[in-house]
């Protein structure tokens, strides 16, 4: 891409990434949540790939790391659900302290679940994008 686009993306990628993290962390207080935050994080990486081209991205976040991150996010979410089963015998129990309603650290496992979903959605969608762009037709002849 042209130089202007590269310079602008250098500034905006960080902001978009931060915005995604904000949306995800405040999921239980303001609108948005794990999914919206995850997709925004994925978009910030895609934004970078679009501006700087595919090979640059593989240095930053190649597909191996993305698969590992994605599986880890999934396992984290599943273990949060199993937490309730191990301690209190009920599958999806929200057993962490609920805290004060309007503070950030307030709603038991909901913020942790949001973080797990964000990791999984972000890594997964970025992986889909890199796979689709890296796909060279006629590769298997």
């Amino acid at each position: 891409m042209t130089l202007i686009v590269k310079e602008v993306t250098r500034l905006t990628v960080g902001l978009i990434f931060l915005f995604g993290i904000y949306i995800m962390l405040h999921g239980h207080l303001t609108p948005g949540g794990g999914f919206a935050g995850g997709v925004i994080v994925a978009l910030s990486f895609i934004h970078m790939v679009l501006a700087y081209g595919g090979d640059f991205a593989t240095k930053k976040m190649n597909s191996r790391i993305a698969t590992i991150l994605e599986s880890l996010g999934g396992l984290m979410f599943l273990s949060l659900a199993l937490l309730g089963l191990i301690f209190a015998g009920v599958f999806f129990l929200n057993l962490l302290p609920k805290g004060m309603p309007f503070e950030l650290k307030s709603a038991g496992i909901i913020p942790l679940c949001n973080i797990a979903i964000c990791i999984k959605v972000g890594a997964g969608l970025f992986l889909v994008f890199t796979l689709l762009t890296m796909f060279k037709p006629g590769g298997d002849k």
């Binding site: 949306i23 999921g27 239980h28 207080l29 303001t30 609108p31 948005g32 949540g33 794990g34 999914f35 919206a36 997709v39 925004i40 994925a42 978009l43 895609i46 597909s63 698969t67 994605e70 599986s71 996010g73 999934g74 979410f77 599943l78 659900a81 599958f91 999806f92 929200n94 609920k98 805290g99 309603p101 309007f102 307030s106 709603a107 038991g108 496992i109 909901i110 679940c113 949001n114 797990a116 979903i117 999984k120 959605v121 997964g124 969608l125 992986l127 889909v128 994008f129 796979l131 689709l132 762009t133 796909f135 590769g139 298997d140």
Partner: protein, 184 residues
């Protein structure tokens, strides 16, 4: 200067008509790239209607997912810039599809009469959520408490659907599927 207050229904009807026209345009246009853009417009229309219907959570998610869908759709069409040649449209298929759809619509019109009118939902379970939500889950955003605590089981499965889709994409796009064993 008294403002004319448009009820939600009045705001939504023109938006829905715009979306229907947009989707018909998206289907009928020959050039694939412009039909993808028409779909983007319909998607943004859906986001605006979510805002009108007081669902900010959904508006953010829908807008962001919409952007991603557009990027993927453009990826599938950009390399194939060709205009799709309109061959002889087989009229039998179109007629039968239209008749089927017309019947479906007539049947649905009378069925929709039985539902509670727009704007007056019977919120039997929802009123429980609203009343007890903030104490039991501690989250102030009711939608977040519903998707992660009351019905968190759905969201666990839904996150694994995304995991399956990503796995499916990596399986479909891998270069060598079946190892050709050399025939004797």
């Amino acid at each position: 200067m008294e403002y004319i207050t448009l009820t939600e229904a009045d705001q939504l009807i023109p938006l829905l008509v715009f979306m229907i026209i947009g989707s018909i345009v998206a289907l009928e246009i020959d050039d694939m790239l412009s039909s993808v853009i028409a779909i983007g417009a319909v998607g943004v229309g859906v986001t605006i209607s979510f805002l009108i219907l007081k669902a900010p959570d959904l508006a953010i998610t829908q807008l962001v997912v919409e952007i991603l869908c557009l990027i993927l759709l453009v990826r599938a069409t950009i390399k194939r810039e060709m205009r799709f040649p309109r061959k002889h449209a087989d009229y039998l298929r179109i007629i039968s599809a239209l008749v089927l759809i017309f019947l479906f619509l007539v049947f649905s019109y009378s069925a929709l009469m039985g539902l509670p009118p727009f704007g007056m939902p019977i919120m039997k379970v929802a009123s429980e959520y609203i009343a007890r939500g903030i104490h039991e889950t501690g989250a102030t955003n009711m939608v977040a408490s519903v998707i992660l605590d009351y019905r968190g089981y759905d969201t666990l499965i839904e996150a694994s659907i995304l995991f399956t889709a990503v796995l499916g994409v990596s399986v479909v796009l891998r270069s060598v599927g079946r190892i050709r064993n050399e025939k004797s």
